[in-house]
Amino acid sequence: MIDTIEAWFRLSAERIHEQARALTVLDQAIGDGDHGINMDRGFTAIVASFAAGRPAGESERGIAGAMVRLAGRTLISTVGGAAGPLYGTALMRAGGIIASSEPATPAAEVVVSALEAAIGGVQGLGKATTGEKTMLDALRPAVTAGRTELEAGGNPKAVLEAMAEAAEAGAEATIPMLATKGRASYLGERSIGHQDPGATSAALLVRAMADVVADD
């Protein structure tokens, strides 16, 4: 699991760097034009932190969870804006779930639970719910799809693929939404017709996980 996590962060960082301009352009339309810049800075910092070696831990899951928690702390310390605390807290909560998971629990199941916890962190802090045109509109469908696929007995690749597709669809579904949270809400009706940058980056992250798992 450690290697998967590291590969996920590396692939995410790469894609966020590639998509930074696109994310910023989305944020220019309904925000303040910094989302890509902010995320790029944060994920670059996460990857840079890997050079310091892996965190100490007793078990594979413990170390993997600690890595994710540390990555969350790195986001909080480097991203700023709304996305920093939200994604940072999300990763810290997810890391906690991973670290405390039983070795016997299947990895895909842990991923879904971790994302559930992550969403709890985002909601606890940001007080948003789905339909408000935020990252939650990508994350919540992902977790629902993952849980469904898990219950249907899907293999890890299928679970992750279902999550990624749901996240991407969710991000796209933010286009017609009226924003009622975050900066985009200041625009009122004018927020309609644009895809939410945070939902877009969220879908990118879930897609990166699916691709890493698919490559395994």
Partner: protein, 339 residues
């Protein structure tokens, strides 16, 4: 997305040097007033923490200068945390600032109401909880945004400057954390603002204007992050524009004939002073029509959106208490009087 042909013309070295070098310049220009903690991108009042004085910490994304770093000094802020352009600073910065200025009487965090600012200050407060007594005031004076279930709440804009000045005076005068907080809350409750833009601005790391505005249009109800406003209108004479800003403010504050206000006309960064005084003249005329007295004034670039052209109006209902704290000595890079 509109494609754009505008190239970025800025007085900078690298894009990443902008904030650190600007802070360094502030420190070099005002060594008697401020000290720069470069590692944390924090502007600290020179001379270290004042024992027994409530300390005021603010901060936010850069690009709003002189807010907040230009307001550090006697009678105003003790520290200001600078984020990247239009990006709230991170909790580590506010933690460092809070610890650095605490004089034992507690620290007031003054936070503009944006999701990012609120969350990062909240995490910072958690980081020092149990060690430093922290109170938080969230400013939300922008009438362009409804404070409702359908928004992230009204934005903190021009009123923030007044909160920092007046709460700072109360702290300087020996107010307790509860008292200073109460004063800040009172200023915020009695201040309302609204702004407009003639042009967008360019976030340096983005390199293109945040939005494109046709030559004959303007944005009404903007914030301070180069973002579009509540609505787009055809360009109009400034007398009409001033009315579009003053009317909602007066209505929201329920200002009555005979009341006295502080009238603050703020430039967004790219508007020349000659125009700002024309705007002030228009605002003064509208207030006179309504029988509202102008007891104090502030005209200039105090809370900006990079090089955006435009202005905002802030009115603060005054009573003797607030007037007295407004008049109290202040000595910062950007505001100075009676000292």
């Amino acid at each position: 997305m509109t494609t754009t042909t505008t190239t970025m013309k800025k007085l900078i070295n690298g894009v990443d040097d902008l904030v650190p070098e600007s802070l360094a310049g502030l420190g070099a220009a005002h060594p008697d007033l401020v000290r720069i903690d470069a590692a944390n991108k924090v502007v600290l009042r020179a001379g270290g923490p004042r024992a027994g004085k409530v300390a005021l910490v603010s901060g936010g994304g850069s690009g709003h200068e002189p807010l907040h770093g230009g307001f550090v000094g006697r009678g105003m802020l003790d520290a200001a945390c600078a984020g990247n352009v239009f990006t709230s600073p991170v909790p580590d910065q506010m933690e460092a600032a809070t610890r650095a200025v605490d004089g034992g009487a507690g620290v007031l965090h003054i936070v503009k109401n944006y999701t990012g600012d609120v969350l990062n200050f909240q995490l910072a407060a958690e980081l020092v909880s149990g060690e430093v007594e922290v109170a938080t005031v969230v400013t939300n004076d922008d009438v362009a945004v409804q404070d409702s279930l359908y928004t992230a709440g009204r934005r903190g804009v021009g009123g923030t400057v007044l909160v920092e000045k007046i709460a700072g005076a109360r702290a300087e005068a020996g107010g307790t954390l509860a008292e200073v907080t109460a004063t800040a809350v009172k200023v915020n409750a009695n201040a309302r603002s609204m702004g407009m833009a003639l042009t967008s601005c360019i976030v340096p790391a983005a390199g293109t204007p945040t939005f494109e505005l046709p030559d004959d249009e303007m944005e009404i109800g903007i914030g301070i992050h180069g973002e579009p406003g509540r609505r787009r209108e055809k360009l109009a004479p400034v007398d009409e524009i001033a009315r579009m800003l003053v009317d909602p403010i007066v209505a929201d504050l329920q200002l009555e004939r005979g009341e006295r206000v502080l009238a603050f006309v703020n430039g967004m960064g790219g508007t020349p002073l000659i125009e700002l005084y024309v705007a002030f003249n228009a605002v003064a005329g509208l207030l006179a029509e309504r029988g509202i007295g102008i007891a104090r004034t502030l005209v200039g670039d105090y809370i900006t959106s990079l090089e955006m052209a435009g202005f905002s109006v802030t009115l603060l209902r005054l009573d003797d208490e607030l007037t007295g704290f407004w008049d109290a000595p202040v000595h910062t890079p950007a505001l100075r009087w009676a000292v």
